[in-house]
């Protein structure tokens, strides 16, 4: 091949079949013109792309959804009240606090870092609310603001230690685990346990506030319409830019699927008390976090830092700011989760945020499909993972099995999840999707 002569390349590639190839290329969207690209069209194309993605090891949230179905089936067989409306409403209430904390863990895992102190931070935030609201008589809003602000400050402190001194996050947050447990005990003082007033707005929100069936269904309609509209808008924008766009039929099927996925659980939940406001808050946080990591410059930077810090730095990303904001977001979610847990249990004690909270939150994020290796994951893994973890403890409690079994089962599920993560990572590398 002549290296000096340039501009001869198109003829080189197409050779004798230049004319028909060029005609074909002119009609194809700009992103589908490469002859090596395997691209399907319409509905079958979308299904084919999905199965190809799975085969290559890009599993996304498929393993956790399959796992959840299996877990629910097993518990339903063991105890027919597991999938009852009443128990599922309880499940949503139990899921919320661990899920909110797991949301923060997802963010730090995206950076390839870890926060081991979320349990202690949630406990200290709950203690702050208990002491200031109940003992000192602050207005509830002031108590909540103080507790959440403490969460933000703790994360900024971690971020500062990490970015200024390069201390590994593992060690920083291990110290935080101990230190903030101590602070929690210090704040609580010798009383040990503080009961929150049952008629307070906070407790009411966490235990007695449910959407009316009509509101729940209206919300579903709103969400489905918004989803379909944004998809359709994206489609028209892509078509206008000369790029391939999903056909309307695929969008319609996806919107219908979303409607079914939302309507069935809501119908079941409405058989009892309905959709809890607290659970709705959690779902809203998941959606907002998902949009923040996928659709904003900040989120793109988080993925970049998690994938290759040096590349991110050279691309002009303020890496330090990313670490600071992510650590702060994580501890803020932990504080919010701790407050919600305390509100649901109507008490703050020395055991708040203790033992399981930490590991359940981290396990939720990992089980949900967020990679421990950084740069890969989704906000929805907090929701799915928390549902798995909570289903296990809920189901075993229904079977009157002790926490010893719960620990062992949870450990098994966590190991399976991490193994799937490692295996799919290997498969992705083999298929060039790492």
């Amino acid at each position: 091949m002549s290296l000096q002569g340039s501009g001869t390349r198109p003829q080189d590639i197409t050779g004798t079949t230049a004319a028909p190839e060029e005609n074909g290329a002119a009609q194809l969207p700009a992103d589908l013109q490469d002859e090596r690209l395997i691209a399907g069209h319409g509905i079958s194309g979308a299904v084919g792309a999905f199965t190809a993605r799975l085969r290559s090891g890009d599993l996304g949230s498929v393993p956790v959804v399959v796992g959840l179905v299996i877990i629910w089936a097993v518990f339903q067989i063991a105890n027919s009240s597991f999938l009852s409306s009443r128990n599922l409403v309880n499940l949503t209430l139990q899921t919320t606090s661990v899920g909110v904390i797991a949301l923060g863990i997802v963010l730090v895992l995206l950076l390839g870092e870890i926060d081991l102190s979320v349990g202690s931070v949630s406990g200290v935030a709950a203690a702050v609310v208990g002491v200031t609201f109940v003992n000192k008589g602050w207005p509830i809003v002031a108590s909540l603001v103080a507790a959440v602000a403490l969460g933000v400050l703790i994360g900024l402190f971690y971020g500062l230690l990490y970015t200024r001194f390069g201390v590994p996050s593992f060690v920083i947050t291990l110290a935080g685990l101990l230190g903030f447990l101590g602070l929690q005990l210090l704040v609580l003082g010798k009383d040990g346990t503080i009961n929150l007033p049952y008629d307070s707005a906070l407790v009411g929100f966490a235990t007695r506030s449910f959407l009316s069936p009509a509101m729940a269904y209206a919300l579903v309609a709103l969400v489905v319409v918004a989803y379909a509209l944004s998809r359709w808008q994206g489609r028209t924008a892509r078509a206008a830019a000369g790029l391939s766009a999903a056909p309307n039929s695929v969008i319609a099927i996806k919107a219908a699927g979303l409607a079914i996925v939302l309507l069935i659980p809501i119908a079941v939940l409405n058989g009892d008390r309905g959709v809890s406001s607290m659970f709705l808050l959690f779902l809203a946080l998941v959606v907002v976090t998902d949009l923040a990591v996928r659709r904003t410059r900040w989120g793109r930077s988080v993925f970049a830092v998690g994938g290759n810090v040096e590349a991110a730095r050279r691309a002009g990303i303020n890496v330090r700011m990313i670490y600071l904001t992510v650590f702060a977001a994580c501890t803020t979610f932990a504080a919010v989760g701790g407050i919600l847990a305390a509100a649901r249990l109507v008490a703050v004690g020395q055991a708040s945020g203790g033992t399981d909270v930490n590991l359940n939150a981290i396990a939720s994020a990992v089980i949900g499909g967020t990679s421990l290796f950084g740069g890969r994951g989704s906000a929805y893994s907090a929701l799915l993972g928390a549902l798995v973890i909570t289903s296990i403890s809920n189901g075993l409690a229904l079977l009157s099995l002790d926490s010893n079994v719960r620990y062992i089962v949870t450990a098994g599920v966590l190991l399976i999840a991490v193994t799937i993560d490692s295996l799919s990572r290997r498969s992705r590398q083999a298929h060039g999707r790492a």
């Binding site: 091949m1 290296l3 000096q4 340039s6 501009g7 390349r9 198109p10 700009a30 992103d31 490469d34 090596r36 690209l37 994206g234 924008a237 892509r238 830019a241 000369g242 790029l243 949009l291 659709r295 904003t296 410059r297 793109r300 930077s301 993925f303 970049a304 998690g306 994938g307 290759n308 040096e310 590349a311 991110a312 050279r314 691309a315 002009g316 990303i317 740069g375 890969r376 992705r428 590398q429 298929h431 060039g432 999707r433 790492a434």
Partner: protein
């Protein structure tokens, strides 16, 4: 033989001129009195043995290091480059050997990393994808899809993405550090074609390479560094590869050549 630096041709079209640039690391004089000029629409190869100071020079131009001495004229104005970001803002883009790509992100995300296009606060994926295709087509780059993670691309394709990314900042000078190292025959040719396309776009390209075949194939001029000093600038069309290699290795002032020179002097008067 051109052992002394050729006189600087600071005429029209010169984009970047270095004068007397020196850089010390402790007791090591990494660069001494380097003179260099690059013109628009020209590929200048920077060659030299290991430790000759090529990388130091590139990093000095790119703002990674600051020169101890000497001056730099960019686009007719004397400039001081304090950081890589400043160099980029001036219009000096550098593609380092490690490419600095994020394997977990797709081609579009990598191209626009750190300068994402936005619409109403959210990422404008459609516009980024469209202009990614436009840019890659202009470079005749063979990337099958811009929505696959960079990890799945071949070495040449990754190099292409890295070079294409450097072009998004509309630079006037592009420095490529060993772009063909570790590439196969076809991929090397692809990258060299790309270098030629950069030249056609009127960019000044500084190409660092150890591969003389690549240099002779694509460069207009070759600047040789030896032990941190200029050791000649050659016009490729008028030079043989051996002469450049001699300048790189310093074969002109080693024991063999000195002896040959002495003999020819002694024989000169005798004959």
């Amino acid at each position: 033989m051109t052992v002394t630096p050729t006189p600087l041709d600071v005429g029209a079209g010169t984009v970047l001129t270095l004068q007397g640039v020196s850089k010390r690391f402790g007791a090591v004089q990494a660069l001494k009195n380097i003179e260099l000029d690059v013109r628009a629409g020209e590929v200048l190869a920077l060659v030299g043995d290991n430790g000759a100071g090529k990388s130091t020079l590139v990093k000095t131009i790119a703002g990674v290091y600051t020169a101890d001495d000497g001056s730099m004229v960019f686009d007719g104005r004397p400039v001081r480059v304090g950081s890589p970001a400043e160099a980029q803002q001036l219009g000096i883009a550098t593609v380092f050997q490690d490419l600095a790509l994020c394997d977990n992100l797709d081609v579009v995300a990598n191209l626009y990393l750190g300068r994402e296009l936005r619409k109403n606060g959210a990422l404008d994926e459609v516009e980024m994808e469209r202009s990614s295709w436009e840019l890659l087509r202009q470079l005749s780059a063979k990337i099958p899809s811009v929505r696959i993670p960079v990890a799945s691309l071949s070495g040449g394709q990754r190099q292409t993405v890295a070079i294409a990314r450097s072009l998004l900042g509309r630079p006037k000078v592009v420095m490529l550090d060993e772009p063909t190292a570790a590439l196969g025959v076809a991929q090397t040719a692809e990258v060299l074609n790309l270098v030629e396309r950069l030249r056609e776009r009127g960019l000044a390209v500084i190409l660092i390479s150890h591969n003389m075949a690549d240099v002779m194939a694509v460069a207009d001029r070759v600047a040789v560094l030896r032990l941190g000093r200029n050791n000649g600038v050659f016009v490729v069309s008028e030079t043989r590869t051996q002469d450049i290699i001699a300048a790189i290795t310093g074969a002109t002032d080693n024991a063999v050549s000195e002896r040959a020179a002495r003999r020819s002097r002694e024989e000169g008067p005798a004959s």
